[in-house]
């Protein structure tokens, strides 16, 4: 199994732990990831507010470079995943956008035919690797641990390709495969505030607070996430949340970290030390 | 919104399409399109038959021969035929006809078989518009014109042959 890997800016910055754990887990599962050569920022949610066609062109350059390799692309960051998929879909559906973007790509010697498939690591783990193969690799099941599976918005919305829009379950299944339990978490697809937490903290903090508080109330010892921005918002702002609302002290980890731990990979190699709220509780008993 | 058909003589090619619609589904759907005031291209002339199964492939050939640029055949969805299974017979016949048309050099897209139920007025609109656009892109078929040309060629050939001394004709054989 071989895929192209689109890390995106966050996984090289604040989301380092996501990259570290993802690469470690996939390597251990025998899945080869090849980083897309000279990839650029996908444009995220911000660029769409500036220029629509250019934001498709930004993502389009990555798709064009990826297309040469003829492999599926794995985009772990939710924003990248959505932007690349949305670009793919709009280039397919709107001849006008396709014409402009492809013409622009051609000025730089690139071309895009529209054949790239953009996948999420959850999709690949469940549908390509398979839960059976994962189960065979579990060496240190996280027995007795309870987590809140938090999907956030942009991987199930607006396109539900590999999971249910209202009640996604793929991460739940992976957490269970890791030997842990999931708390019933009705907020699993509610927005974390995205980039608003940085720009309008009074709005963003409240959203993060609600998510954390409810997870804690339902007995989760950590929130498990699939997105670097969700992780950043829920993890990085907890001291401000403590000042404004209450101290929650709830670790926020990536699903790849949980899976890596259960597979017996060393905690440091999974970036476990990078949580601002210490994830020691998750490591307890190991 | 449909494109106006006549933009002045010779300004643009306007396809002429003959349609055979079955009375129970597609003809009713076209009625519904009318009652719903849907607007579509005016290039199609509908001939009503009771069942798409009444359409003899010869009707289609005749339409092309008489100058149609396209022929559309509309019947009930499979399983919904008012006469139980007439449309299955249509399907079989028309698959064969399609192969023949291809061999005769009549392009794909000039003949089209569509299942349109009595409730699908909007499908009449989309199928007609789509077919008109595609046939417009294909350009005129003009079989009558071609027939005339061929007739002329053959006439000339005959003329040549009959004008030649009999000896050479034998030799040529």
């Amino acid at each position: 199994m071989k895929y192209l890997y689109f890390p995106g800016c966050s996984l090289k910055g604040t989301g380092k732990a996501y990259e570290e754990s993802l690469l470690a887990v996939f390597r251990a599962l025998g899945v080869e990831l090849k980083e897309i050569e000279d990839w650029n920022c996908c444009g995220a949610t911000a660029y769409m507010s500036v220029d629509e066609t250019k934001s498709y062109a930004l993502a389009g350059r990555n798709l064009a470079i990826a297309e040469r390799e003829g492999l599926d692309v794995i985009a772990p960051c939710s924003a990248c995943y959505l932007v690349l998929n949305k670009t793919q879909k709009n280039l397919q559906d709107h001849a006008d956008i396709r014409r402009k973007v492809v013409a622009a790509l051609k000025t730089a010697g690139l071309d895009y035919k529209g054949t790239v498939r953009v996948r999420h690591p959850l999709d690949v783990l469940i549908n390509d690797v398979g839960l059976d193969a994962i189960a065979q690799r579990i060496q240190a099941p996280l027995k007795g641990h309870k987590f809140a599976p938090y999907y956030g918005c942009q991987i199930v919305r607006p396109y539900a390709t590999f999971d249910d829009q209202d009640d996604p379950v793929t991460m739940d299944r992976i957490i269970k495969a890791a030997g842990a339990d999931c708390v019933t978490y009705p907020l699993k697809t509610r927005c974390c505030g995205g980039s608003l937490t940085g720009t309008v903290p009074e709005a963003g903090l409240r959203l993060a607070y609600i998510l954390l508080k409810e997870a804690k109330k339902r007995g989760a010892e950590a929130v498990v996430t699939v997105c670097p921005l969700c992780q950043f918002n829920l993890d990085g702002y907890q001291d401000q949340i403590a000042r404004k609302y209450e101290a929650l002290d709830l670790p926020v980890v990536y699903f790849t970290q949980i899976l890596g731990l259960a597979m017996g990979l060393p905690a440091a190699g999974l970036g476990m030390q990078r949580g601002i709220v210490s994830a020691d509780a998750v490591l307890a008993g190991r | 919104m449909s494109k106006p058909m006549e933009q002045g003589a010779g300004a643009g090619f306007e396809p002429r399409i003959v349609a055979f619609f079955c009375n129970w589904c597609t003809y009713t759907a076209a009625d519904l399109a009318g009652v719903s005031r849907l607007k579509y291209a005016p290039n199609v002339r509908v001939i009503r038959v009771m069942c798409s199964g009444r359409v003899d492939p010869q009707f289609v050939m005749e339409a092309f021969a008489k100058g149609a640029d396209g022929v559309l055949l509309g019947g009930c969805h499979p399983g919904d035929c008012h006469y139980a299974e007439g449309n299955y017979k249509t399907l079989r016949r028309m698959r064969m006809l399609e192969r023949m048309l291809k061999d005769m050099g009549i392009a794909d897209g000039r003949f089209r078989l569509e299942w349109i139920s009595g409730a699908e007025g909007d499908k009449v609109k989309s199928v007609v518009n789509d077919m008109v656009a595609k046939v417009r892109a294909l350009g005129p078929l003009d079989l009558p014109g071609k027939f005339a040309e061929w007739d002329k060629e053959i006439e000339e050939l005959e003329h040549q042959i009959s004008a030649q001394p009999a000896k050479e004709a034998v030799h040529a054989r």
Binding site: - | P4, V18, D31, G34, R45, V46, I47
Partner: protein
Amino acid sequence: MADNNGNKPQPIGLPRIGFYVCHCGSNIAGTIDVAEVAQFVAGLPGVVVSRDYKYMCSDPGQEMIAQDIKEHKLDRLVVAACSPNLHEETFRKAAAKGGLNSFLFQMVNIREHASWVHEDKKAATAKAKGLARAAVYRVRFHKPLEKQQVPVDPNVLVVGGGIAGIHAALTLANAGKKVTLVEREATIGGHMALFDKTFPTLDCAACILTPKMSAVKSHPNITLWTYSEVAKVDGYVGNYKVTVKRKPRYVKEDLCVGCMECIDACVFKEPKFTDQFNQGLGKRKPVYIDFPQATPKVVLIDPQSCIQLKTGKCKKSCAEACDRDAIDFTQKEETRELQVGAIVLATGFQAFDAKKEPRYGYGRYPGVYTALEIERLVNASGPTSGEVVLRDGRHPKSVGIIHCVGSRDAKTNKWCSRVCCMYSLKLAHLIQEHSGAEVYNFYIDMRAPGKAYEEFYDKLLSEGVHFIRGRVSEVTDWAMTPEEEGKLVLRVEDTLAGFVRRIPVDMVVLATGLEPKADAQEVRRRFNIGCGNEGFFQERHPKLAPVNTFTDGIFIAGACQAPRDIPDTVAQAGAAAAEALVLIDAGHVELEPNTSHVVEEECCGCKSCVPLCPYGAITFDEAKKKASINEVLCKGCGVCAAACPSGSIRQNLFEDEEIFSEIEGVLAK
């Protein structure tokens, strides 16, 4: 009116054609230059008279045709107007009135197929001309034909025993017709039998329904077959042959008197199986009766839960308890055949499955109910005897009713289900009356268009029920405030106030919409009728033929055609019964003479046609080595005519020459 003709002399051998083009007010003339069409047709060979007129279908219009036929010795008639589905009969009659055979006439559809669907006047006029020319070319090949008359069987089949079927059956039976009423469930009554009260009068549903149910049972003209389904329908208008499957009840219907001793005697001391009639809120035994007024009042045994039927090893205490020996474990499914002239379909609707809207938590939160469940909860004869009590035994202090669940939503059902606003008002009233709870209605638009409906809404407003205009986004159990703890929280924009509200309640009622029955497609195929895109049965005309279908002799009534309430359903059932009576009392039907026949001299005896006919109308005469068509069995599809290699099969009204000339006509330049 333009008259582009005069009595011009026609060469010998040409027909004398009269052509008429209708303005239809501005419906046609607004888009098509009718005078130009008339003038154009006047120049075609054989046309003696060519006129345009404001309304051809009006009396003066028809009179004009009849006059012209006589005066100008017309022998063919062409009318360009609306769809033949609407007025072909009208003009055939006009022809006959003038002394012309009705079938020497051809209609041209320039309204539905031209003026209404095109905007470019020039193109629409050109199209009208082409279609008119085709009809003129074609009509010269028409031959005089006669309609065949066949007698109509006076018996009627009514399918579905809800209020629609009950009312239709009683109406027909009271008119002296023999009716068979076939119902799939064990009792008639349908959805109405589930209700406690009906809006807007709040009269008791059982009080108005059960007398009609017993009237069905006791009516000498009605045969009631419950627990039965129509398996097959053959034949044609006036002469349908229907096959009905009667499922085994394991109880002899003629012997059982409904004393229910057997139920008491059942080896299961306590009821422990899901009671479908009570929407799963109650339990029943393997031997049961849906409700005390079930009609027929006959018990039945569920083979899925009865020990005797499952294993053959039960002491059969039920059978012992029955002093009439009505219980019969050996009963098998029976097949019966019926001969009827007309069929009324009243197969009803199904409620939207609330699980398809997971955000409302049905099936996940026990405090979430469907409207039908609440109908049973507030019903005095329901599982709680009318007490509004939650699944966990608590009494709700606050109740939220969410409208439009599975209605007005592109992801589920696009249509408005038409009854939910009113039944939600009714349930709000009943819940408040039975429990004293605070009731909130969450609606998008309040739809109360009916006699005394707005007044009913006004009554609810005065009763202090809350009305919040907004579609609820989710029902959830996470609390933001102490008051929300342990409650179901509804999140909604109060669109009239302009802000979002969170409202905690104990009970949520989902006002599920009405949708076609799951097997509506199979049923409509069985009866050879159509369905609209949304899956409800298709009426022949939305305004002028609302209970007719495209298959003559089959009528529809009630919510199988579209969502509707009880008053409208009953009115429609009456209309369907009346239409059936019209057909039956005429005593005979005239069949369209578009049948096929074999021209014997031309038949080569290849037998290609024989297997093609779905009605078995074609036989092969081995002595003569020729095919022959039974015109009574032929339904006029023309499949055989298209297949005949020697061209010896001709279909009346659709002969090869007629269609070839039509092709020539539309394409001529």
